[in-house]
């Protein structure tokens, strides 16, 4: 029997590109915060020396993410309903509670960390208040670091889970999604740290090599997550894998998405392996940052936006044309622009004198 649709309405996307921006930035923030937090407890070594780069990534993306989240609400002015009507059975409501905890831990920790650094190295005049008083805050710092790490894990668990529990979208309905979102976030944030270490903090080759190794671990984790989802899905015949196999079979667009994911993943892995072998390779490794960040972003685009164009009941795919306004391109660019604006100022604060060596001016720092 052959069925052709004659009159069927098209279902619009309900989550806008703002959601991609939120998942991207909050993923980077959470994973970078975990690494920055590790530096608090593993002192005196490479983890601690990675802290400036990790905090730069975590704080800059962390302050941008909630704005994208707010914009994804069609009624952003009503966001306070999340707090006046707490709903313990909803993952999204839980997320609304986790996010401020994470932000408190992250910003609180950074403020104290920065204070100690300013006290050691001296603060710029316009930030002199940062070091006011005699209180060191050293006792509070591990607690804030713990809050930051717990909050970050909470972010990774809730963002993955809130998507994963949606049974109506078969592609989302897999526990592997939580791992895959987390691993690609680690991949992106570590790539950003590689960039920051090389171009802003002038980290030593040994420290960059350490970050490159972590980046490779994240790539391997991403690969393992993808393979686990595919192999597990193939063996257990999971709905998510079934849906993906059907899309690959039916639509060229999804074959391109699949080929690009595999291609970019393998390219990054081969490049990272090659770069790890020589000091020259390590010094060049920051070049992978744009591609790794783009890959992390694109994964979220495919998961959140492309999957919404797969009809739940109808045949074919719904067309999606990116609007140019704030529901589309302008929103995407706006959030990237906001991040860029933060990145004009933040490296100058966090890097302090470190970046000022080699006679680098602040403007150069800001523009990489």
């Amino acid at each position: 029997m052959n069925v052709a649709e004659i009159i069927v309405p098209q279902q619009e996307v309900a989550w806008l590109p703002w959601a991609v921006q939120y998942f991207f930035f909050v993923g980077l923030a959470a994973t970078a915060a975990i690494i920055a937090g590790a530096g608090e407890f593993l002192r005196g070594g490479r983890w601690q020396r990675l802290q400036p780069a990790a905090l730069l990534v975590a704080v800059s993306t962390g302050v941008v993410a909630p704005i994208a989240l707010l914009a994804d609400l069609h009624q952003p002015g009503r966001f306070y309903h999340f707090y006046t009507d707490i709903t313990p059975w909803s993952w999204m409501s839980l997320g609304a509670l986790i996010l401020p905890v994470f932000m408190t831990g992250l910003i609180g920790y950074w403020v104290l960390w920065q204070r100690e650094r300013f006290k050691e190295q001296g603060a710029p005049r316009w930030l002199a208040l940062w070091t006011a008083g005699h209180w060191s805050g050293r006792r509070l710092r591990p607690w804030l670091a713990a809050l930051m790490i717990i909050g970050a894990i909470g972010i990774l668990v809730y963002t993955g889970s809130e998507v994963m529990i949606v049974k109506a979208r078969a592609l989302w309905h897999t526990e592997w999604l939580i791992l895959n979102l987390a691993m690609t976030a680690f991949m992106g944030s570590l790539a950003a740290m590689l960039y920051a270490q090389a171009r802003i903090f002038r980290a030593t080759a040994g420290d960059q090599r350490f970050t490159l190794r972590l980046f490779m671990l994240a790539l391997l984790g991403t690969g393992a997550g993808a393979l686990g989802w595919a192999a597990g899905g193939w063996i257990t015949d999971s709905v998510s894998f079934q849906a993906f196999a059907r899309l690959i079979g039916q639509f060229a667009y999804w074959r391109i998405v699949f080929a690009l994911s595999v291609g970019v993943g393998i390219s990054l892995l081969v490049a990272a392996l090659w770069m790890l072998r020589t000091p020259r390779g390590v010094a060049l490794s920051w070049w992978m940052a744009p591609l790794a960040l783009l890959a992390a972003w694109s994964f979220r685009w495919a998961v959140l936006m492309d999957v919404q164009t797969v009809p739940k009941y109808g045949a074919g795919l719904y067309p999606y044309h990116l609007p140019l306004g704030s529901d589309g391109l302008l929103g995407i660019l706006g959030i990237f622009g906001l991040w860029l604006a933060v990145m004009m100022v933040l490296p100058g604060i966090i890097a302090g004198r470190e970046a000022a060596n080699e006679s680098m001016k602040m403007s150069e720092v800001a523009h990489g």
Binding site: M1, N2, F82, K167, R169, P311, G314, A315, G316, L317
Partner: protein
């Protein structure tokens, strides 16, 4: 049992009870159904749709739009229309499939709502408080039937609610009232003598719901539906698709 231990256990039980009492509404675990509220607890509304009687005139679509005023191009109910061809005999037939909210007994749209703006009434109808909704779109994602949408005018979630305002005034929903062939039958499933129960009894062997395997327990029952329409449509997609998306209708063929 050692008395101090018994005392301790007793106290623990009391304090556990005290912790539960003020949170009586909070017994639902993550993504579990919260308790139903409002509506007549004695009733359970449902709808039967006799596809043999539907002629695809879209009178229901129009009357719903007039009654509930969704923006142009957005629908709480609409009649999907398909052309079905038998591969052997090459005979073709038109299939009409009226679609609306299924008022599921296990509605996946309800537990996801982060602000309790949507809930199931005791009479089974799933409603939305448009003043409370933040427009996060989570319920739209969770509904496996595409019954929900973000209303372009109000910017909040919108859906069919069986015209609950009319039901409470003793009227039929607009779509039922206007149905030319009498294909839509609404009624109280708890009342054994209701018209809907009579119709369901008469057609007991021919009742189907959409996507039963998802365990949403839909309460819109289709009579005379071909099996090909229970799950996702395996076929050619609608008019707006280009060749890339596998469409052949209209412009491409």
């Amino acid at each position: 049992m050692d008395p101090s231990r018994r005392q301790f256990l007793g106290k623990a039980a009391i304090s556990a009870g005290a912790a539960v009492v003020p949170l009586a509404d909070v017994e639902a675990g993550l993504n579990d159904q919260p308790s139903r509220r409002g509506g007549d607890p004695g009733k359970r509304y449902g709808m039967a749709i006799d596809l043999r009687r539907c002629i695809g005139c879209q009178a229901c679509t129009v009357s719903c739009s007039i009654e509930n005023q969704p923006p142009v191009g957005q629908f709480r109910t609409i009649v999907h229309q398909y052309e079905v061809k038998d591969n052997d005999s090459e005979d073709t037939a038109a299939v009409m499939l009226p679609r609306l909210c299924n008022q599921c007994d296990n509605p996946p749209c309800v537990p996801v709502c982060p602000v309790q703006a949507t809930w199931q009434r005791k009479d089974g109808i799933v409603v939305v408080d448009s003043d409370q909704c933040v427009g996060c779109g989570y319920c739209v994602q969770a509904c496996p039937y595409d019954a929900r949408f973000i209303n372009h005018d109000t910017q909040v979630a919108d859906k069919c609610n069986f015209c609950v305002h009319r039901l409470e005034a003793g009227l039929l929903p607009a779509c039922v009232e206007s149905c030319v062939g009498g294909a839509r039958i609404i009624g109280d499933l708890n009342d054994p003598d209701s018209h809907i129960n009579q119709v369901l009894r008469e057609n007991y062997d021919d009742i189907k719901v959409l996507k039963p395997e998802l365990n949403t327990r839909p309460h819109v029952f289709y009579i005379g539906m071909t099996d090909a329409f229970i799950e996702r449509i395996q076929g050619e997609s609608g008019l707006w698709f280009d060749a890339e998306h596998g469409g052949v209708m209209g412009a491409v063929s």
